[in-house]
């Protein structure tokens, strides 16, 4: 298995290289550049031209690519054109925000979805099951921004229970207990919105797996041995029906850094999704390329992780 993992990691290098070429080329093909948005009668066009020249944007693309890749190998992804800050520190801040939000969301998803899925499957066609199915249809059908705005308006503005924007209250100093609590407080609304939307697939998988498992031979065997029903569900069926979720776990872990554009925008939460969209709009090349490379790397890593996890939880699968 170790051999395979090393091989997979090595294969990532050419994959990432191709991705970097693609994204670099595509980014340059977009109309405009980071300085297009600067035109005002107060700005001297020659100054903009000079900045463009200084930034090397007038060089042919392969020259620009060469400079970029050489710097990237030294861990330097350049400066953001829009934020005038180094790309790594910019992404670092946002990644941390997004990480906390995603972690909170994922925990909530499992907390809500696992009991619902298992019980709905166990008591198939009961009122509880029907309620759960209805719940997943509704959350499946509702668009993110509708749910996000509804939750924000109701709990944020109408009831005034939760903060409506940002990731932390400005009055606390970093590192204090109040700061931590304020961060958590700001996570609740966006976290819940993401969690409600995220539960659908987990519930449906679990439910159908449990229903499937009920008629499997190993369950019949266990029952004929006289194992109590409670134990059959908590030991035998539960483990087996978690398999499809385990298959996603790798992606879920790496997806913690991807962020959600809608939720972040609605709740004014500065994370990765928002940064990505914004840098696209402003043609902030250095940020765009760094982000896509990061996302690409994360999905490759995620698929590897998923395979490894699967081979651990399901002995029938072997990585060769």
């Amino acid at each position: 298995m170790w051999k395979t993992i090393v091989r997979r990691v090595l294969v990532m290098i050419p994959q990432l290289f191709v991705l970097s070429l693609l994204i670099f080329g595509l980014a340059k093909l977009m109309p405009g550049d980071p300085f297009t948005g600067m035109i005002t009668p107060q700005t001297d066009p020659n100054v903009i031209e000079e900045l463009r020249e200084k930034a090397g944007l007038n060089d042919p693309w392969y020259v620009q690519y060469y400079h970029w890749i050489v710097n990237a190998f030294h861990g330097d992804f350049g400066d953001s054109y829009a934020f005038k800050d180094s790309v790594s520190s910019l992404i670092g801040e946002r990644a941390l925000n997004t990480f906390w939000l995603s972690l909170f969301t994922v925990l909530l998803v499992y907390l809500i979805a696992i009991p619902l899925g298992i019980y709905a499957g166990r008591f198939q066609n009961s009122l509880f099951d029907k309620g759960t199915v209805l719940y997943s249809f509704v959350t499946y059908a509702i668009p993110t921004f509708v749910l996000g705005l509804l939750i924000l308006f109701f709990f944020g503005y109408k009831l005034d229970w939760f903060p409506t924007s940002g990731s932390v209250d400005v009055k606390y100093d970093a590192g204090t207990w109040g700061y931590f609590m304020s961060k958590l407080y700001h996570l609740i609304l966006p976290g819940f919105t993401g969690a409600i939307l995220g539960t659908t697939s987990v519930i449906q998988y679990l439910r159908s797996e449990v229903i499937d498992a009920k008629t499997q031979d190993y369950v019949k065997t266990a029952r004929s041995k006289g194992v109590p029903m409670k134990k059959i569900y908590s030991k035998h069926i539960f483990r087996n029906s978690l398999l499809p979720i385990a298959a996603f776990l790798g992606f879920t872990i790496t997806g913690l850094l991807g962020g959600s554009i809608f939720i972040e925008t609605i709740f004014g939460y500065p994370g990765m999704g928002q940064l990505f969209i914004e840098s696209l709009g402003q043609r902030d090349y250095s940020v765009i390329t760094a982000l896509v490379m990061l996302f690409g790397f994360l999905s490759l890593l995620g698929s590897l992780l998923s395979d490894i996890i699967m081979s651990i939880v399901d002995p029938r699968i072997r990585i060769e």
């Binding site: 297009t36 009668p41 934020f83 400005v170 449906q204 809608f262």
Partner: protein
């Protein structure tokens, strides 16, 4: 396993569809319901908007002013006048302003501020005298060095901002300093601790509105002097704890999200009456709700005009309004930009080279109805390329191209554009089909409706107008195409902000790359030069020059103004002494609050 993965794919595909559907609707959601009622919105009388909220209630002691920064992304956070680039940072900077000169009528510099300007036009020199005994927020004295230091930042070869421009090079010795040949700018002299003398290559009327290279802000030299110029933009002195001369000082900051400021005890006009200001971002989709529920006292930079109905009936706020320093226009392409020579080349065979055709297009646009119906009166028909705020320069006698389809038809008939094959559209003078390509910027749903309405207007006078690329164009792509004189653009709709010096030379002269209509005549050149000439140092002469230029632009009908704009700023009723009047003498230190929290809508 197989079955499972197929299910997974379906779920994923369905999710993606949902997401894709969202992205199309994301920012239009707030528009819905506005136009669907079928009722025409009431027209607003923009002159009725107050400029100032005085509030006669008794003020509380201190308090925190809450400012909503309406932005869908984080702010950049460069708190130094020499470096900042966008309107959001400017809004925050206004509370910690190092400005030397306030402005009076027509945005001319006034000498009631920290600095007094006197200009020796003959010797091409300006002298700035600053007030004595003024202290920075950290208690250090404010001296002439702090007035000189900004010039050394901007002129430095490592400077990363956009302000080392042709104007700045007008300072004697700026170029040498920028090239690294001199240690200082030779034209800037420190006369004594409170006096600075600056020599220029030429002096024009612009200097009285802060142009010609004159810089209107001070920078705290004692805080910045040890930071290399190229590192300034990342330094804490700029990002976290700038020392200021303004009414407030930044105390805490959450990067990109919010800023907490406290009153500056050393403020030269006396300590502000409120204790704190907290500025935090709010997304445009929820800005109205935030004002309604009293989350903020005031919104900055302004409230979107096309969503006015969401706030107009709230009883906890006052909506202040003032004319914006901007105009929208339609431009007719007349030539190309010669990038080698750096000048405009007019093409006499351009599709819209006949002035009567251009005038007919202008008369055929029902701007009045669009301004009333779609913008609820918050836009009005523009008649000139100088907004009326510049009362001395604005020509109110210009007729403008008021909607008149009959006149448009007559102009077209007389000019030889006739419908010979009876398809409802006119052919050109040679009888060949005429299709005019219009480029416009994509924005909200409303922009689409508006442009379709205009296309309908033009159809009614017999002109076939189509959108370049078949739809409205994304901002960056739009300016890329307009700048490159794309052959598929015959005319385009855009807008310019004028800033506080409305001098049009940078937008309409032969050498101006921003002259996107690519139109120039010897007469226009003369008129443009007259506006910024030496003679124009006499204000009457300058006003007259502005007038002549406006008339010629009106006659040429190459850049036709469409709307003047009104900007709206909602203010909570607990705020006392808040003014958006360009001429107001009410400043931040006088602002007070009359309740502990912003008032909610009942």
């Amino acid at each position: 396993m197989k079955k499972r993965s197929r299910l997974l794919l379906t779920v994923l595909a369905a999710l993606m569809l949902v997401l894709a559907a969202c992205s199309g609707n994301g920012d239009t959601s707030k528009d819905t319901g506005k136009d669907s009622g079928g009722k025409a919105p009431e027209k607003v009388d923009t002159s009725k908007f107050p400029l100032t909220q005085e509030n006669n209630d008794e003020a509380i002691k201190g308090g925190t002013l809450k400012v909503g920064l309406q932005s869908d992304g984080p702010f950049k956070g460069m708190f130094l006048y020499e470096l900042y680039e966008d309107a959001y940072d400017a809004e925050i900077l206004a509370y910690t302003s190092n400005s030397l000169f306030p402005t009076k009528e027509d945005f001319l510099l006034d000498d009631t501020g920290l600095g007094k300007l006197s200009v020796d036009e003959g010797a091409k020199k300006a002298t700035i005298t600053i007030q004595k005994d003024v202290k920075w927020s950290d208690g250090k004295p404010f001296t002439a060095d702090d007035v000189i230091y900004p010039y050394l930042i901007i002129g430095n070869k490592d400077y990363t901002g956009v302000r080392y421009d042709a104007n700045f090079q007008n300072i004697v010795g700026a170029k040498e300093y920028h090239a690294g040949k001199a240690k200082d700018i030779s034209g800037i002299k420190k006369v004594d601790d409170h006096t600075v003398e600056i020599s220029f290559h030429k002096i024009s009327p612009a200097i009285y509105s802060g142009g010609d290279g004159l810089w209107g802000y001070a920078a705290p030299k004692h805080q910045l002097k040890d930071i290399a110029i190229k590192d300034l933009q990342k330094s804490d002195a700029v990002r976290k704890n700038p020392v200021t001369l303004g009414a407030f000082v930044i105390n805490k900051i959450v990067k990109g999200e919010s800023v907490e400021m406290v009153a500056n005890k050393n403020y030269w006009k006396g300590q502000p009456k409120i204790d704190k200001v907290v500025i935090s971002t709010v997304s445009s989709a929820t800005a109205a709700e935030a004002m309604k529920t009293g989350k903020f006292d005031v919104l900055a930079p302004n409230y979107p005009a096309n969503d006015y109905s969401a706030i107009k009936d709230l009883n906890n706020i006052t909506v202040l309004g003032r004319p914006e320093l901007a105009y929208s226009y339609i431009g007719f392409k007349q030539g190309k930009w010669d990038s080698k020579k750096g000048e405009v080349v007019v093409d006499e065979n351009a599709k819209l080279s006949d002035p009567n055709l251009r005038k007919a297009i202008a008369y055929g646009m029902d701007v009045e109805t669009v301004a009333e119906q779609y913008y609820e009166g918050l836009r009005s028909r523009g008649n000139s390329l100088i907004p009326p705020v510049f009362s001395a320069y604005y020509d109110d006698t210009l007729e403008g191209y008021k909607y008149d389809p009959e006149k448009a038809k007559k102009l077209l008939d007389d000019a030889g554009y006739k419908d010979k094959d009876n398809d409802g559209y006119r052919e050109d003078k040679d009888g060949k089909p005429l299709t005019i390509n219009l480029a416009g910027m994509a924005g909200s749903d409303k922009d689409n409706k508006i442009v379709q309405y205009y296309i309908q207007n033009w159809k009614e006078v017999g002109l076939k107008v189509e959108l370049t690329t078949g739809r409205l164009i994304e901002f960056n792509a739009f300016y890329d195409k307009v700048k490159a004189d794309d052959k598929d653009i015959d005319m385009y709709m855009a807008a310019w902000g004028t800033g506080t010096d409305p001098s049009p030379i940078g937008l309409y002269s032969k050498k101006a790359s921003f002259n996107y209509a690519r139109w120039t005549t010897p007469e226009l050149e003369k008129q443009l030069e007259a506006i910024d000439s030496k003679e124009a140092l006499d204000n009457d002469y300058r006003a007259e020059a502005f007038r002549k230029w406006q008339e010629t632009m009106y006659e040429d009908a190459v850049t036709v103004p469409t709307y003047f704009r009104t900007e709206l700023i909602p203010v909570n009723k607990r705020v006392k002494n808040w003014s958006i009047d360009y001429l107001s003498k009410i400043t931040l230190e006088q602002v007070e609050l009359t309740a502990d929290e912003p008032i909610k809508n009942q």
